[in-house]
Amino acid sequence: MSQITKEEIRQPENLVYKKTELLTDNPLSYCPGCGHGTAHRVVMEVIDEMGIQEQTIGIAPVGCSVLAYEFMNVDMQQAAHGRAPALATAVKRLMPEKFVFTYQGDGDLAAIGTAETIHACNRGENIVIIFINNGIYGMTGGQMAPTTLPGMKSSTSPYGRDVALMGNPLKITELIAQLPGTLYVTRQAVHTPAAVRRAKRAVRKAFENQKLNKGLSFVEIVSNCNSGWKMTPNQSNEWMVENMFPFYPLGDIKVND
């Protein structure tokens, strides 16, 4: 076998993976190792592969992904904290032929925006909600979130979440799956290649569902917050597997046809 040089391999015809053009060239504002970047890429790859950039309108939340519109190369609106599903409701109803999605964190979606989330889901708005659950308020410096695990430390639960004092973490995805307006509810992760591939299939299904006009598709992505959890990225992914997944088990929760 003859020796092959790197230059011979790095030819356009040999390309198997490169960043989608639906991600802008702006450097992501997320901490090193944060799952937000991977989740952004998964969503944008799906929109790219479906060829629906021109018909897509995204809604950015308040939180770490408040600047999502800097990275996602589609028309975007930046919502007030928790209100993204309300914006998306109007956009979809006023322009039913468009693809509309929200991208929200756990504080945005499951605390301040609980009403907007539940009612958009219950009305069966034909939108996609991407929900990043990392169990903490990352942007504001690591405070307790509605999804913070029992005993989990944060800057506002410095001795661990005491459920007797601070209440229970909210499994909002299971709650949403009960609502008649949701068509597809799933929980995914983006910490390993296999998880990313599964998450991408879920996001693809969610966007394909929008064509059916049969209800809302909700994709939770359990993610890490290594800065907030005060770990290295790989440690945080291991911690997530050991601690987050038992409480927030991965997989489809509701699949209707």
């Binding site: 011979e8 790095r10 993976y17 450097p27 290649p193 990313v196």
Partner: protein, 74 residues
Amino acid sequence: MAKIKGDIVIDIEKCKGCSVCIPACPQDVIALSANVNSKGYHFAETVNDACTGCANCAIVCPDAVITVYRKKVE
């Protein structure tokens, strides 16, 4: 017998050295450099020629800085 040879190109200026790609690589091709980029991050780099172009590293890279190539070598 045909053999698959791969290679990756890392945008080292955008790499944040998070290391998530390192355990994702089945061939142990990637490690953090001793050098840093202009932001001060120890960026990821390849340390051997065992890459098969499986793209696992790129798929988990949060900053989408890895481009993957794969060629069948006769």
